[in-house]
């Protein structure tokens, strides 16, 4: 197997307006692995996936996916590359005017000339993989959150991509669907020979399946390694995040003037 990383991010800089999101990030995603990008809310984890998918462009730095410079691709070249990437959006992002079956058939119908007969077989195979073959006639509005994500996952792998990106796959799931998703991500990755990138802040679930973890904060990678390496790491930041400590390098208090002075300042200052 090719040893070069599937995704190579170097010196990534990106800002929204005046607010810098990434300030020199380097990330490698190894082929065949499940890599997690973790960090508190608002650190730009979702933005990172959009940068990898070419929906946003970095201000500086490079992003290569399978050797292709995503940050420079446009038009057809970008779309050709995207056919080889799957993405699972936070709430599934299923097309609401189609049922489950048509949602999964959508990329196949858009990009292939396959007969309906063959599409049916492919769709049923993907649905079987996520355990929802019986739900094929339901509309997205009739699905629970967990089911919607599984359908979206089936759709993401419909074109047999080389990688799948998961945007907060565990948020707001009950323990059972959480367990189902965790197992699905790992087994699909290994069975289909995918490369997976998970963006999440659900520590336990993500650590259970990730081969490698990057911790992001303040626009930089503050720690990286396998789950065990991070556990043993002496980074105060990693410790606070992994154990959910309320105070530490990420302060409990939003920046504010001195407490006593603030209280005594009276209503004039408010």
């Amino acid at each position: 197997m090719n040893d070069t990383p599937l995704v190579r991010i170097r010196d990534l800089h990106f800002a929204r307006g005046d607010r810098p999101i990434f300030d020199g990030v380097d990330i490698d995603i190894r082929r065949g692995s499940v890599t997690a990008i973790m960090g508190p809310s608002g650190t730009g984890k979702t933005t990172l996936l959009r940068l990898i998918g070419g929906q946003l462009r970095p201000d500086r730095g490079s992003i290569e996916v399978d050797g292709e410079p995503v940050h420079r691709l446009r038009g057809t070249a970008l779309y050709t590359l995207r056919k080889r990437m799957g993405m699972l959006f936070q709430n599934g992002a299923l097309l609401t005017d189609m049922d489950v079956y048509d949602n999964i058939a959508f990329p196949l119908r858009e990009h292939t000339e396959l007969s309906e007969e063959l599409i049916r077989i492919l769709v049923l195979m993907k649905l079987e993989a996520v355990g929802l073959r019986g739900a094929r006639h339901l509309m997205p509005s009739e699905l629970s959150g967990g089911m919607a994500r599984r359908v979206a996952l089936a759709r993401a792998i419909a074109l047999d991509p080389m990688m799948v990106m998961y945007d907060e796959p565990f948020t707001g799931q009950d323990p059972i669907s959480m367990g189902v998703l965790v197992r699905l991500i790992r087994t699909l990755n290994d069975a289909l020979g995918l490369t997976s990138i998970i963006v999440s802040h659900d520590i336990e679930e993500t650590r259970a399946i990730a081969d490698y973890i990057y911790l992001l904060s303040g626009g930089r990678v503050v720690a990286e390694g396998t789950s065990a390496e991070l556990e043993a790491s002496d980074s105060a930041w990693a410790r606070q995040f992994l154990h959910g400590e309320p105070d530490g390098p990420v302060p409990f208090h939003y920046p504010a003037p001195d407490y006593a002075e603030d209280l005594l300042a009276g209503t004039e200052a408010a």
């Binding site: 998918g53 929906q55 995207r82 990437m85 959006f89 936070q90 992002a93 097309l95 609401t96």
Partner: protein, 259 residues
């Protein structure tokens, strides 16, 4: 003072930026129209939702507008002993003005707002993003068919509106007020010109259809992707469409009949 100027400048810049984005989007949407010839089923589905589903409100409104025209026209004409001209008055008011304009206003309220809300919600729920990530261009897949459908549906709806209105005027004038049946139709046939009246009305309805649909899909596509953003965009669609239709109506009327 400086702040006022700054605000004025920002508002102006925002306006022109939006105008620029709207035109770029229109170009992209138009580029996506020719390929639809191969996938016309996409357009047919949209024709159903913007056209067929607007039919009821168009039929009812057309009927009542025609009936009111019949009443009002009769009351004025009868003073001059010209009640037989009622057919001409009703038909000309409808095909030249009320047909295209009122249909466009109703179309903006019924179909335009629905288009904006649908597209805005697709954006807010990341469906458009998901399409992009599936290497499907949402402008071509979602916006172009809707634009073409609006463009095709509006003239048809305006024609139906006018036709129903003429029947409404006939019902009141001939049926209730005793205008001569033959005079109602024959005067209409003699005085309504195919090119000057009907064709100019059709041109108006085509222009209004394109503009209202353009505003609707742009507002949806440009909406802030939150529920509040979508509701604001929907309101803007109706308000801007109404203003655009009335403004354009004056310009078009001046060009067509103002020699």
């Amino acid at each position: 003072m400086v702040n006022t100027l700054r605000m004025l400048g920002r508002t102006g810049l925002d306006f022109f930026q939006r105008l620029g984005r709207a035109h770029l989007l229109l170009l992209a949407v138009l580029a996506g129209v020719p390929p639809l010839a191969l996938r016309f089923s996409l357009v047919i589905r949209q024709l159903h939702s913007v056209g067929v589903l607007s039919l009821l409100i168009i039929l009812v409104s057309g009927l009542f507008v025609g009936m009111v025209l019949g009443l009002q026209g009769y009351n004025t004409l009868v003073d001059f002993g010209a009640a037989e001209s009622l057919g001409v008055v009703v038909a000309l008011s409808l095909v030249r003005e009320l047909g295209p304009v009122v249909t466009a206003l109703l179309f903006a309220g019924r179909a335009g707002s629905a288009l904006t809300a649908e597209i805005g919600l697709m954006k807010a729920t990341e469906q458009l993003s998901a399409m992009e990530m599936m290497a499907v261009d949402p402008v071509r897949r979602v916006l172009s068919p809707r634009f073409l459908a609006g463009f095709l549906a509006m003239p048809l709806l305006a024609a139906i509106f006018s036709a129903v209105g003429v029947l409404g005027g006939w019902f009141v004038g001939v049926g209730l007020l005793g205008v001569d049946d033959g005079a109602y139709w024959s005067q209409m046939q003699a005085k309504v010109d195919l090119y000057d009246d009907i064709w100019n009305g059709v041109v108006k309805s085509i222009v209004f259809g394109a503009v209202v649909t353009w505003i609707a899909i742009f507002e949806g596509y440009d909406a802030v992707p939150t529920s509040e953003g979508v509701s604001r965009a929907t309101t803007r669609t109706v308000v801007h469409s109404a203003l655009a239709v009335l403004g354009l109506d004056f310009i078009l009327t001046a060009l067509m009949f103002g020699d």
